[in-house]
């Protein structure tokens, strides 16, 4: 993975703006198979994350990887974020990080 540029904070809706680039997001796991995980983004979209998730997987997980298309990510890095997480705060962060305060992040 190219680590020279920072990963953009995204939610479901913002993923399409970074297709082909490095992104990071937190999803609430809905289904976990070998090789991929399905989860709900902080703005309520269904996303697919391909890769090898850690075992065990907590309810919330952060993934950093490359956006394949507007609803799927190929993850390189997985981090368990536990079972309680404030999704609305994260979502607001994503909006600020892609909007007016983009210059602070990318």
């Amino acid at each position: 993975m190219d680590t020279s540029s920072p990963a953009a904070f995204v939610n479901g809706g913002l993923l399409r703006m970074h297709v082909g680039r490095k992104v990071r997001t937190v999803i609430q796991v809905t289904r976990s198979d070998a090789g991929s995980v399905m989860g709900k983004s902080t703005d309520g979209c269904q996303l697919v994350v391909r890769g090898s998730p850690p075992a065990p997987l907590t309810s919330y997980v952060e993934v950093i990887g490359v956006a394949e298309n507007e609803n799927s990510i190929r993850a390189e890095l997985w981090t368990n974020f536990g079972d309680s997480f404030d999704a609305s705060n994260y979502d607001q962060l994503c909006q600020l990080a892609n909007g007016e305060l983009k210059h602070l992040f990318l």
Binding site: D86, S88, N89, Q92, L93, L96, E100, L101
Partner: protein, 536 residues
């Protein structure tokens, strides 16, 4: 007397000025016209030839000299001595002219002796209430005291006249009147023996306890409530070295709030003792307080002053209303005390400040303390004198907590409770340095805040340091508590330390940072900031 001319004719129409009873002349100064002829006839005695037998001859004698009637025109002014008409107390003022008032004595002060540059003197005052509800204080000095001190009795009605009116001394006189009467040597005070039902015995303007919460410090007011607790009388050493008694009671009223009432001096032994006995025997008496003083040291409480009057189970409609409320459920409703330190601003309207803002904005400099919240990290904890030996005894529902001194062998003495005991409590008095991204400041943390910061009780730390003398373990604990971030609820107030004014910051509450809530707060701040920037 020798008659010169035995007989004579009356020339003209002279009028004899007959000096009759002076009393009759009071209302009619210009009367006493007598028919001259009859009188003179009566008075004329025929004198026979001048004789040597002087005894049998009654010469014409002028009527004996009678003192002139009382009413004379003296100088240019005619004095009107008619009795003054009664006016309402509310109409009294120094420009009134002759006045009289009819009022009941509602309070009689003590006879006080004083000594000033002009010598020794004595003074006493009493308060009056008339049928229109007007009130005024009357003061007598020196010789006037002797005339009236024993005449004046509380509850009796008097007709008072000829006093001088001067501005009321608001420091001592809390009646609703800008004037005060000063009786003089020519003043009159007449007892009215007939009971005048139109004049009430007392006048109150009771404030509900909930209103006292917002009353100004040192203001004087009346309050009525049910006595729910009475504490024993304790001797207190006053600032002037004199000892006095103090009792604390709690009153509850229909507003759902309760207030602490402090009795001082004689009130402790008289009304205080009576109330204690009543409460001990299971009663809950009504207590009316006239002229209590508001104190804002700990929340709002009321204390007695010299002009306070206490009435146990008074016969007034408010007392009856209170009793009815208490008996029909009021007894069991929990009441919130306004006499506990309140922290204004719940979590909804907390004011967040950075540490440099406290200094830059001059917080704590007004007459009320400032309450703010600051997010900061503990960077230093002073280990000398981190706690003090405290009194564990209870005063009402609160622990005394006053610093106790050692008395003799392994015993402790509390000055406030006036008791000795074996085991004292240990309470934190921590000096802590906290820091945020803007700056650094010292704060003082008491018991609860101290326990949160150090994570263990003051007693444990005390024993560790002074009894077990385990400095290593003590040091480890202290170090482990450094560099933790908290949300500090701070009370900021400027206080006089010797000669200088210093801003003192007390930690009232320590909360661990809730990341979810804190993030929301920060996101909110960022959004607001962006919105404000757009306006420029």
């Amino acid at each position: 007397m020798e008659t010169i001319i035995p007989e004579y004719e009356i020339i003209g129409n002279p009028k004899l000025l007959m000096g009759s009873e002076p009393e009759a002349n009071k209302s009619m100064p210009n009367n006493n016209l007598f028919e001259p002829s009859t009188r003179s006839t009566n008075n004329r005695y025929s004198a026979p030839a001048p004789a040597n037998k002087a005894q049998s001859f009654q010469p014409t004698i002028q009527p004996a000299y009678q003192p002139p009637p009382n009413y004379k025109i003296q100088g240019p002014i005619m004095k009107n001595e008619a009795p003054a008409r009664i006016i309402p107390i509310a109409a009294l003022n120094p420009y009134q002219g002759r006045w009289a008032i009819k009022a009941r004595v509602t309070a009689k002060g003590d006879l006080r002796r004083y000594n000033n540059a002009r010598g020794d003197g004595k003074v006493f005052s009493f308060d009056l209430l008339d049928s229109d509800g007007g009130e005024i204080r009357v003061t007598c000095f020196n010789a006037v005291v002797d005339r009236f001190y024993n005449v004046i009795e509380v509850g009796k009605v008097y007709l008072i006249s000829k006093g001088s009116l001067k501005p009321a001394q608001k420091n001592f006189n809390h009646l609703k009147n800008e004037w005060e009467i000063f009786l003089e040597s020519n003043s009159t005070v007449e007892l009215c023996p007939d009971e005048d039902g139109s004049i009430p015995r007392q006048q109150f303007s009771f404030r509900p306890i909930t209103e006292i919460e917002s009353a100004e410090n040192n203001s004087i007011l009346d309050v009525i409530g049910i006595v729910i607790s009475v504490n024993p009388s304790v001797p207190i050493l006053r600032k002037n070295g004199m000892e006095t008694q103090r009792r604390i009671l709690n009153l509850k009223d229909v507003s759902g709030k309760s207030v602490e009432l402090t009795l001082w001096g004689d009130f402790c032994n008289k009304e205080g003792q009576k109330l204690q006995e009543m409460v001990d025997s299971g009663l809950f008496p009504v207590l009316a307080v006239k002229a209590g003083k508001v104190n804002d040291f700990n929340g709002k409480s009321i204390g007695t002053i010299s002009s306070t009057q206490l009435f146990i189970d008074p016969d007034c409609p408010e007392a009856q209303g209170l009793r009815a409320w208490f008996e029909s459920g009021g007894r069991n409703t929990a009441s919130i005390s306004i006499s506990k330190e309140i922290m204004p601003g719940g979590s909804k309207n907390e004011i967040r400040k950075t540490l440099t803002q406290i200094k830059d904005e001059g917080l704590g400099r007004s007459d009320k303390p400032d309450w703010v919240t600051a997010k900061a990290t503990v960077v230093f904890i002073k280990t000398d004198n981190f706690c003090y030996t405290a009194c564990p005894l209870m005063i009402g529902d609160r622990q005394c907590n006053k610093k106790v001194t050692q008395s003799g062998n392994k015993r402790w003495l509390c000055d406030r409770c006036n008791q000795e005991f074996e085991e004292c409590d240990y309470r934190y008095l921590l000096q802590v340095q906290i820091q945020d991204h803007t700056g650094l400041t010292w704060v003082t943390a008491f018991q609860e805040a101290g326990e949160e910061i150090l994570g263990c009780s003051a007693k444990e730390m005390y024993l560790l340091k002074y009894e077990l003398q385990d400095d290593t373990r003590f040091g480890e604990i202290i170090r482990s508590r450094l560099f933790h971030q908290y949300l500090f609820r701070l009370k900021i107030k400027e206080e006089l330390y010797g000669d200088e004014q210093r801003v003192k910051i007390t930690v009232v509450k320590v909360d661990k940072v809730n990341y979810s809530a804190e993030s929301r707060y920060l996101l909110d701040m960022v959004t607001k900031n962006l919105r404000n920037r757009k306006q420029f």
